[in-house]
Symmetry: C2
Subunit: 221 residues, 2 copies
DNA sequence: GACTATGTACTAACTGGTACGTCCACGTCA
DNA sequence: TGACGTGGACGTACCAGTTAGTACATAGTC
């Protein structure tokens, strides 16, 4: 690192131009994340992004090369964020059942709190995940939550609390699918079944429900 | 060079025109379903749809008014299709546990077999389901599967097999979320976890897994 | 002075939508 | 039965607005 941080700069004033590449990049990325999450890749407008930035369209192409380049950078950012949090889970101290419940609640809360991430993943799947496939950064991230699950399952098995033998990836999918769906499909589901999935009491009910379902599944008959 | 002078038309394409409004409409709808499911609302191109039709762009606007009008017509079509099949479920003759398993398998198989439907629902959620909200036809379909579930749950409760009290809509969500996710997120999930979710053995494993999970959940501790 | 960062003004291609004219099907009436 | 004419079905060519991307000039920084 070289000249980052410090300097106590007063960054405002379009009056005198300040070169601040790091924050220009961050600014563009933040706005782009919102725009892509809201409108999708083809629906997003580069001009619209530029307008809400404190810089210009020129800079988008200067730093990211193309609309697709920017989109990939956004994907790498949001995937990086979730990985960072995931690897910080500390579930080793809990007993297996409690650990699973906490994991479910973490997943539920994280996805609930990051609808932009959910939307971007949905959007990316519309494109058959071809941009994820293009990004070695994303393709190669070994997802820490899988190791966490594997460890809990092994422990639960050893202790005889979990009688079912299940692949950690499959269990992750069982947990994640419900949490993801609640957010990704909230509008269609909400409209058709006349429910507000954002309401706190429904959220709490669902949070408990998926926890119960997973734990009972693992305990077997 | 104003008016076209080629009155003496090359009568090869003009071989013989047949007026067949019904099939023209169907033709357009079928092509549009694929295009919208593949590229999304903003990614779809009216010209691309017209090209793959046996008619022209003019007819799209003649019958559907606008790109969005066509999109809504597509949504109504696919939602109509699934409702038709759902209302044909006959699970009253099975005992509650078997009925639930069959329902899960039906949902799993239907969503697996209709990725275009899944994709269109995902796309619609990107748009906050605003086109579903616009269509009274879709908005007003009270989904028959909910009644089916309610009936099974009541029966299971009465017989003492299901010890958990659960809202039919919530149970539908538990079932549907997993089946939906497997299809909607197959590309990102497949890329990141290096799995081919389309592979028959994985499909079979997941099909059994969600069935087990749901049944165990309902039976309670 | 050299290299990076930034702003302005522009364009070539695309894209939803339309003006306008033609053709087909079918009922009517001589 | 056959000419006719009317309204819906259809095709061609085109336009006007939009949009990703760029040429060029300049300012900041070490």
């Amino acid at each position: 690192m070289s000249m980052a941080e410090d300097k106590g700069r007063t960054d405002k004033a379009a009056a005198s131009r300040k070169n601040d590449p790091e924050s220009t990049r961050r600014d563009i990325l933040a706005v782009a994340t919102e725009e892509f999450a809201t409108h999708g890749l083809s629906g997003a407008r580069v001009d619209a992004i530029a307008e809400r930035t404190r810089t210009t369209k020129r800079m988008i192409y200067y730093y990211f090369g193309s609309k697709e380049g920017l989109y990939i950078a956004v994907l790498e950012k949001v995937y990086g964020d979730i990985r960072a949090v995931e690897s910080d889970l500390r579930l080793e101290d809990l007993d297996p059942e409690q650990a699973i419940r906490r994991l479910v609640e973490f997943t539920f809360d994280y996805e609930e709190a990051h609808p932009d991430f959910i939307r971007l993943v949905s959007i990316e799947n519309i494109h058959h995940a071809k941009y994820i496939a293009q990004s070695s950064a994303i393709r190669n991230l070994n997802v820490p939550v899988i190791d966490t699950i594997a460890e809990i399952l092994a422990r639960g098995h050893r202790q005889g609390v979990f009688r079912v033998d299940v692949d950690p990836v499959d269990l992750h999918m069982l947990i994640s699918s419900f949490c993801f769906f609640r957010v990704s499909n909230q509008h269609s589901f909400g409209t058709i079944f006349r429910q507000d999935l954002g309401a706190p009491e429904i959220r709490g009910k669902h949070r408990a429900m998926i926890g119960d379902a997973v734990v009972r599944y693992l305990k077997g008959d």
